[in-house]
């Protein structure tokens, strides 16, 4: 992976890190061979991942610790190989036979069997605690997301590897079948770090190796007394500060150039004064940024699929609907959330953050931002709280908009279609805030919204609309930005709420909001399909 190394070196020279040092660990790559038709001299199809960890810190990292970290990175990556491998041979062999003893007798002694490869070949194995924790976390996400986050899809990735190597055509039905096989398998996690399963699955951390690496290196740094650092691996940026300082995370130019301590930046720093969509200010936490539109769904060292996107773990097919920026307390959660954001509809993935996020452990997933092809931004409600300089956050006003819907006690009650949006005083759309209902045929019964917004914008409906939800009240946070994540400049905006119900009627309210001076809370009693609308200005 010479190319990768060059990139990293270039990235470092462009770094805006003014003090401190940068350390790079684990500059190697590995290729996987497909497990089918195995012969010793013939590897069919391969894919590669490079795993380089770069640490930026003002603390001194001793030579001893550097070696320790280098070893840790190597050990982690090797342990996560799904198949047996040799350090002298970039190919990684998988065994058709499922016993490690048989396997090793087939190969030269130099081939090693990782804990994950052993698990894959024996169906039941006791793992090192860090690896067991990683599988446990992955399985937790697996359960909560109906298999949309999964570390069981080795067979699927092998199929993709063979496809990229020209071994076969790509069948959408087949990838779905492979994903389903892995999904329906029963897995047991036991207290003694034993993972076991009855039907064949191949554990594979391809998508999550950088996250596991980041966590392990961060832990090792902390254990060695280094508590303030920025750590980068593929798509992952982990920020740690003992004193809860802010970091500036720039989301352009392939993640290069970061400046610490935004609060103390010089006066001239524009980014510090006016946080833009291009720079995020992060406290302790992990940012994972995926750009599925710009990456091949599957890459090997030399080949890549023409299909773009990120392979969905639930149906095996690449999706490139959204660029996805996820922020979480730990690297695995950030990676999983970013994947979900890139492969699911905006409503579905944002609901994981805004809805019942407690199922991921209190406060472990923070925020998600999705950007569609048109540049439209969809953010979870707390996104700006986690990504603005503390000074800006403290001053920043945001609005809580609540819409309650009446319940009709009738047999054929169906949840209404609802649209909530903001426009300027010339009815030009500023931001879509909520859209319940997905059927065009009924969306167009939201007459006002359809005429002004919906009929012109199929992509908005595809990306943004979610299912109806009975009369569940809508709780919306508006952070003062428009559809493209920019601060709204106009002082007069109009809030529109339109509701239409099958077997019912249509109601529409528009409420002018003046964004200067003191904002008095607004309460509007609705009629028909709208019970009430309230708007409150809040300060952080």
């Amino acid at each position: 992976m010479k190319v990768r190394l060059l990139f990293i070196l270039a990235a470092l020279s462009a770094s805006a890190f003014s003090h401190g040092a940068t350390y790079t660990f684990g500059s190697f790559s590995h290729d996987y061979s497909a497990p089918t038709h195995l012969t010793q001299n013939h590897s069919v199809g391969n894919y590669s991942t490079s795993n380089i960890v770069t640490v930026h810190t003002e603390a001194r990292v001793s030579k001893a610790l550097q070696s320790e970290l280098e070893a840790l990175v190597n050990q982690t990556v090797n342990a996560l190989r799904p198949y047996a491998f040799s350090e002298n041979d970039s190919r990684v062999f998988a065994s058709e036979t499922r016993s490690p003893e048989q396997f090793s007798s087939q190969f030269k002694s130099e081939y090693k069997v990782s804990p994950l490869a052993t698990l894959n070949s024996t169906y039941s194995h006791s793992l090192p605690s860090w690896l067991f924790s990683a599988i446990k976390r992955c399985e937790h996400w697996f359960t909560k997301t109906e298999g949309n986050i999964s570390c069981r899809n080795g067979a699927l990735f092998t199929y993709w590897a063979d496809y990229v190597a020209g071994e076969h055509e790509l069948s959408r039905k087949e990838v779905r079948r492979l994903a389903r096989m892995a999904r329906v398998a029963e897995v047991t996690l036991k207290d003694n770090h034993v993972v076991s399963f009855a039907s064949p699955i191949v554990w594979d951390f391809a998508d999550y190796t950088p996250a596991v690496l980041a966590s392990r290196v961060a832990k090792a740094l902390r254990e060695n007394g280094i508590t303030t650092f920025h750590l980068n691996t593929h798509n992952v940026d982990l920020y740690a500060s003992a004193t809860n300082e802010s970091w500036q995370h720039i989301i352009e130019n392939n993640n290069v150039g970061r400046t610490k301590n935004v609060d103390t930046l010089s006066e001239g720093s524009i980014e510090a004064e006016r946080p833009s969509a291009k720079a995020l200010t992060i406290k302790n936490g992990v940012v994972v940024h995926l750009r599925p539109q710009h990456q091949s769904a599957f890459m090997s060292a030399t080949l890549q699929s023409k299909e773009k996107g990120i392979i969905s773990q639930s149906d095996g097919w690449p999706s490139a609907q959204f660029e996805s920026i996820a922020i979480a307390a730990n690297a695995f959660d950030a990676m999983a959330l970013a994947h979900l954001g890139a492969t699911k509809s905006a409503q579905q993935s944002l609901a994981y953050v805004d809805g019942d996020s407690s199922k991921f452990g209190r406060g472990s997933i923070h925020a998600l931002r999705l950007i569609d092809d048109a540049g439209r931004v969809f953010s979870s409600s707390q996104f700006s709280l986690f990504t603005s300089p503390s000074k800006a956050t403290a001053d920043m006003a945001y609005f809580n908009i609540s819409v309650t819907l009446p319940m009709f006690n009738i047999a054929d009650y169906r949840g209404p279609y609802v649209s909530v949006w903001l426009s300027d005083d010339k009815n030009r759309l500023i931001k879509s805030l909520a859209l319940r209902g997905t059927n065009d045929r009924w969306l167009n019964k939201l007459r006002t919204w359809w005429r002004r917004v919906g009929r012109k914008d199929e992509a908005l409906i595809d990306g943004f609309a979610g299912a109806t939800q009975k009369n569940k009240p809508l709780q919306i946070t508006w952070d003062g930005t428009n559809d493209f994540g920019e601060k709204v400049q106009t002082k007069n905006v109009i809030l529109h709420v339109e509701v239409v119900r099958e077997h019912g009627g249509r109601s529409y309210e528009k409420i002018p909001l003046l964004l200067v001076g003191e904002f008095s809370p607004i309460v509007v009693a609705g009629t028909g399909e709208i019970e009430a609308i309230t708007v409150n200005q809040m300060f952080r």
Binding site: G147, K173, N439, K445, A467
Partner: protein
């Protein structure tokens, strides 16, 4: 969503339910010449004069003629169609999957994000009653066809320009399709028991974790399996048909299609749909007389006189 709307939504739910658990999109009334107008009306004014048509055909001919030798050989002709077809199948697929999500919501009567067998059977009850036109409890070949809901729904709406979907799932909206899907013992009849058994089996197959209810993901993924099977079938049928079409259009059989030969099919199609004969294809042209067609359009390569028209609307 007042009275008129109520009728329509009921119809939508019923339409959704008649093919086992699943079926394809119900399409608004597309104008019959939609395909040609959408393909060749380059200035998008919804009107296609003969001259614009000929120019657009010439441009398409030139673009298809990859080696610019002034004639199309078989591979150029098929290649061009393959590209168009892939794009259309991809867009049909997307629409179909979208519709499946909507259908899930429609069948999930109590909005709990799960479909139970009861909900499926409730919908089935109504579809069976709809198909059982003579009310003898059995849907059999030869029974009168049920009234088309789509036609009833659209009779007052103005025709719109919409490409006919290339991807069509097996239909259970007619007696033959219904019996084919649900007759289990080959007696050309579908009893209520057979109907319910097929639907129940399909429910179980769809319920991948076997918990007795279907999530939206389970429901959609099962449908996508059948959708992709049908896409493969459609694709192969289309390719086969394109070779046949080339043979028919290449009247002097020299394996090279000249622009004049290419335009034989073009003029035939234009004239067929320009029913008021004013030299313009527009929404105002009444639909032409339907031509005889077999029920399975995907696998039958046609060589009758109509075959040459098929290129335009991609049937």
């Amino acid at each position: 969503m007042r009275k008129h709307a109520n009728v329509a939504v009921k119809a939508a739910v019923l339409l959704a339910s008649t093919s086992a658990l699943f079926t394809t999109t119900a399409i608004a009334a597309p104008h019959s010449a939609s395909g040609i107008i959408l393909t060749y009306d380059l200035n998008n004014d919804e009107s296609l004069p003969l001259e614009e048509f000929v120019n657009a055909r010439r441009a398409r001919f030139a673009a298809t003629d990859k080696n610019s030798d002034g004639v199309l050989d078989e591979s150029e002709y098929v290649y061009e169609w393959e590209d168009k077809m892939e794009a259309r199948l991809a867009s049909d697929r997307k629409a179909s999957v979208k519709q499946t999500h909507i259908r899930f919501q429609a069948v999930d009567k109590n909005d709990d994000d799960r479909i139970t067998l009861d909900e499926v059977q409730a919908v089935g009850e109504r579809s069976f009653a709809h198909m059982d036109t003579n009310k003898d409890g059995i849907v059999a070949k030869g029974d009168p066809e049920p009234a088309s809901r789509r036609a009833a729904q659209n009779e007052n709406s103005a025709p719109t320009l919409e490409q006919t979907p290339m991807l069509r799932m097996p239909s259970s909206h007619n007696i033959t399709g219904f019996v084919t899907l649900f007759d289990q013992n080959g007696d050309e009849k579908a009893t209520k028991a057979e109907f319910n058994a097929v639907r129940e089996a399909q429910f179980k197959r769809t319920d991948e974790n076997g918990d007795g209810s279907l999530t939206e993901q389970e429901y959609v993924l099962e449908f996508e399996d059948r959708l992709d099977t049908q896409i493969k079938k459609t694709y192969e049928g289309q390719i086969k048909q394109t070779y046949v079409r080339f043979g028919v259009l290449d009247t002097n059989k020299d394996k090279k299609m000249t622009f004049a030969e290419y335009m034989v099919s073009g003029f035939a199609a234009f004239n067929r749909y320009d029913t008021n004969g004013d030299g313009y294809l527009t929404l105002a042209d009444p639909a032409p007389k339907p031509r005889e067609r077999s029920t399975n359009t995907n696998n039958v390569a046609r060589v009758d006189g109509n075959a040459i028209n098929r290129e335009q609307d991609g049937e």
